[in-house]
Structures are given as structure tokens and as C-alpha cells.
């Protein structure tokens, strides 16, 4: 506790680093997964390719990916960009499946009715299918958010500063309180992100509010390393 009180400034600085590293992947993966997920649902061939690719990508361990990415895209080994890109890839790998399932969950009758009253394919997607698959997408994003916040810490071992630096530093200097503080703040940050998403869901999908958050079908497993 003494350590924590004496180093509040450090913990705050690392928390900010952590937020800077974890927010972009969560936002970017959603934007990238949306068209890919749509494509995966639309054609049989693209479905096979995209979903298989996503599954394989998701199976790649994070630490080796942090080492391989610089060789592929030419960033420095200790560049925060590696972490952001790697985590965006994981997010996309998870979200394409979710987007595809979410669009799938829209009742075929509803889709046909929308076409019958004159929606074009484009406006039907934005005004009917996307809002209706919202709960599924939200549940998927919550998984991505928690997973991303946890994964950012791994970057600390290659020198990308985040709350994970409290683990490596605490380990090297033998300060238990530092590691525990890192654990508590990381889990806390994950909860804050999760809460923020739930709140955003309430605001954006007010029609969904009455229903208790029955968990739609989303992957329960999340990558932690």
C-alpha cells in the first residue's frame, strides 16, 4: 500500500499509456470487421476464406506476433504501433465472426419486408440489418474490449510501456505491491471499458433496454496471451 501511495503518479501515467494502446484497436477492429463480416455472410466462398483466416489468425500467440510484425511492416521492435496493429488484428479476427453471426440473426421476414417497402440493399443494411444485429455486435465488442485491455500488458516485455510495465518492473525489483496494483488497475480498466460499451449500447439502442441483457451467441473464449 505504501508503494502504491508513493507511486500514484507512475500508475496514472501507465494507465494513460494503456488507454492510448487499447482504444485504437477496439475502434479500428469494429470498422474493419463490419465490411469483412458482411462479405463473409454474403458469399459462400468469401465466407470460407474470411472465417478460416480469422480462426487461424486468432490462434497465433500474441508475443510471437509482436516479434513478427516489425519484420512484415517495417516498424521498430519497440514501436507501440506493433501492439496496436497486432491487437487490431485479433479484434478483427473475433469480430468478423460476430458481425456475420449478428447479420445472420436478423429475421429473414424482416429483411424481405424491408425490401418490399422499398429499401435498397445499401439502406436496408444501415437502417434495418445493422441496428437489429446491434445487441450481438455489442456483446462481441465487449469481449474484444476486455481481451484487448488484458493483451496490451504483454507488450511490456518487449518494452512498450503500459500497465504491464508494472508487472515487469515489479518482478525485476521484487515489489509485490506494484504487480498487484497493475493487476487491479488493468482489471478495473477492463471493467470501465466494458461499462462504457454497455452504456453506449443503451444510448444507441434504446429499444433494447427493457430486455434483460440476454447474452447473444458470441464467442465466450477470449485470447489472454
Amino acid at each position: 500500500m505504501t508503494w502504491v501511495l508513493a507511486n500514484l503518479g507512475l500508475i496514472w501515467a501507465r494507465t494513460l499509456d494503456h488507454v492510448v494502446l487499447s482504444l485504437p484497436p477496439i475502434v479500428l477492429c469494429f470498422l474493419i470487421a463490419l465490411p469483412l463480416g458482411w462479405l463473409a455472410r454474403r458469399y459462400r466462398i468469401s465466407r470460407g476464406i474470411i472465417l478460416t483466416g480469422a480462426g487461424l489468425l486468432y490462434a497465433v500467440p500474441s508475443l510471437p506476433l509482436f516479434f513478427v510484425l516489425p519484420a512484415v511492416i517495417g516498424t521498430g521492435l519497440r514501436s507501440p504501433l506493433n501492439v496496436i496493429i497486432a491487437l487490431t488484428l485479433y479484434g478483427v479476427a473475433l469480430m468478423v465472426r460476430v458481425v456475420s453471426d449478428g447479420l445472420d440473426s436478423v429475421d429473414a421476414d424482416v429483411r424481405q419486408s424491408a425490401s418490399a417497402v422499398g429499401y435498397s440493399a445499401w439502406s436496408r443494411f444501415w437502417q434495418v440489418e445493422l441496428p437489429l444485429s446491434g445487441p450481438v455486435l455489442l456483446a462481441g465488442l465487449r469481449v474484444v474490449a476486455v481481451s484487448t485491455v488484458s493483451l496490451v500488458t504483454v507488450g511490456a516485455v518487449i518494452g512498450v510501456q503500459s500497465l504491464g510495465s508494472l508487472f515487469t518492473d515489479g518482478f525485476q525489483r521484487g515489489i509485490q505491491a506494484e504487480i498487484i496494483a497493475g493487476l487491479v488497475v488493468t482489471v478495473g480498466l477492463a471493467l470501465v471499458f466494458d461499462g462504457g460499451l454497455v452504456l453506449a449500447g443503451r444510448v444507441l439502442m434504446p429499444w433494447n433496454r427493457r430486455a434483460a441483457p440476454s447474452k447473444p451467441n458470441v464467442p465466450v473464449e477470449l485470447r489472454a496471451t
Binding site: L63, F167, F171, E221, L222, R223
Partner: protein, 248 residues
């Protein structure tokens, strides 16, 4: 691409196949570590998961606990346990067993839950004892989802075992950290490629096993979506064995 050529050369370099840092030795360490961790985690998670799945009790607690466990960063857990028990292999074993339990537990009880209640009732009606129901009905029908849980746990452990090299002299992850220290990028990249290949190979093997263990008479689409239902049922999803994320 020169970097990759260097890495491949590093992998093929004969000097890396002898001594206490030989690639086959590190690979064996990695695999043994993964196997032991999975066996320990399974010994705890499978009986517990079956109990939860069969009785339907304690599900809420299991979901909450394993959800909480999953949010904990693995590096934090590893370093904390390493400080408690000292540097060495004990810390990774403890930390990774804890991490491998939630997916296996979830695989075990969701496997039971996904079974049509009528099937279980029918088994009871023809006079099977509770033990027989578990052994002859629930375990075989729940197997694909259990294997899914094991698959997920295995990938998790393979990945985290790499990270465990940070606190112990263990497995393929050593190359990553050794290369990082000596600024030998070929070693880091070569080691990383080996870990990725291992993970993908295991992913492929598990995908095959998962397809293989679906009992005869249960096709992938049985119990699929009934006409008129809008939401996708758990059964149709759970038996989609090619599914990369949902079944894992």
C-alpha cells in the same frame, strides 16, 4: 524479406540443434509443459464441469469465477506467482493451470447443457441410472464441446508458455527473450515462427479431432434451427465444428 531469410537460416543452423538450448529440446519442453498443465487443469475442471452440467447447480458461480479469471492479465499472474514461489518452473505451472481451467470447465458444462433435455429424459425413462446417463448419454454427446474447450485451453497455454520464459528457463519462448537481450533479431524471429507454427499445427489437429468426436447419428445440423425461430439456437452453434471461435 531478408529478415525472414535470416530467421529461417537460424532455424536451420546446425549449431541450434545441440546442447542445452537445442531447438528440439526447447520444443519438447514447451510440449511437455503444455501437456502437464492441461492434464492438471483437466483433472480439476472436467469432473467439476460435469457435475455442474449434470446437476445444473453452481452454474452462475462457475460463469462469474471463470469470467473474472479470464480478465486477469496473464503476465501479471505469472510475475506475481513467480515472486511468491521464486524463479523457476513452479510459477508457470501454477499460473497456467489456473488459466487453463476456465475454458475446459466451460467446455465440460456447456457440452452437457447443449444436449436436448428430451434426450436425457428419455434415457431416464428407459431406466438408466444417473451414472449411466452421464456415462452413456451426456459424456459422448458433450464431447465435441469439451474438445472445443480443450482446444481453446491448449492454444492459451501454448501462447502463455512462451510468455512464461520471462520468469523461467523454459520452452521456445527462451529464444525470444534471449534474442531480445542480445539484439539478435534472427533468433527472436526464428523462435517466434516456431511458436506460431506449433500453435497453428495444434489448432489444425484439434479441428480434426473435434470433427472426429461427433458421435455417429449426430450430424452437424441435427437440432438446428426450427422453422420460424428467429434466434439461432445454442445447439446449431455448438455443433458447428468448423467454427473457430464460438466452439472454442
Amino acid at each position: 524479406m531478408n529478415l525472414f531469410a535470416d530467421a529461417v537460416n537460424w532455424i536451420l543452423e546446425p549449431a541450434n540443434y545441440v546442447g542445452s538450448n537445442a531447438i528440439p529440446l526447447r520444443l519438447a519442453q514447451h510440449l511437455v509443459f503444455t501437456l502437464v498443465t492441461l492434464v492438471m487443469a483437466s483433472a480439476i475442471a472436467i469432473p467439476l464441469g460435469y457435475l455442474i452440467g449434470h446437476t445444473g447447480r453452481g452454474r452462475g458461480l462457475a460463469v462469474t469465477t471463470s469470467g473474472g479469471l479470464r480478465a486477469i492479465p496473464t503476465l501479471g499472474l505469472l510475475t506475481l506467482v513467480a515472486l511468491w514461489v521464486g524463479i523457476g518452473v513452479v510459477a508457470p505451472y501454477v499460473a497456467l493451470t489456473v488459466l487453463a481451467i476456465p475454458p475446459i470447465l466451460a467446455g465440460a458444462y456447456t457440452g452437457f447443457e447443449a444436449i436436448d433435455r428430451r434426450t436425457v429424459d428419455a434415457a431416464r425413462a428407459v431406466g438408466m441410472s444417473e451414472l449411466q446417463i452421464v456415462q452413456k448419454v451426456e459424456v459422448p454427446l458433450g464431447l465435441p464441446l469439451l474438445i472445443g474447450g480443450l482446444r481453446s485451453a491448449t492454444l492459451q497455454v501454448i501462447a502463455t508458455a512462451t510468455l512464461a520464459a520471462y520468469v523461467a528457463d523454459l520452452g521456445l519462448g527462451r529464444y525470444l527473450f534471449a534474442g531480445l537481450k542480445t539484439r539478435d533479431y534472427a533468433e527472436m524471429l526464428g523462435g517466434s515462427m516456431l511458436v506460431i507454427l506449433l500453435a497453428l499445427a495444434l489448432e489444425g489437429i484439434f479441428a480434426l479431432i473435434q470433427r472426429f468426436v461427433v458421435p455417429r447419428g449426430v450430424s452437424g445440423r441435427v437440432g438446428g434451427r426450427a422453422p420460424g425461430t428467429t434466434d439461432s439456437t445454442p445447439v446449431s452453434h455448438s455443433l458447428r465444428t468448423e467454427d473457430p471461435t464460438v466452439a472454442r
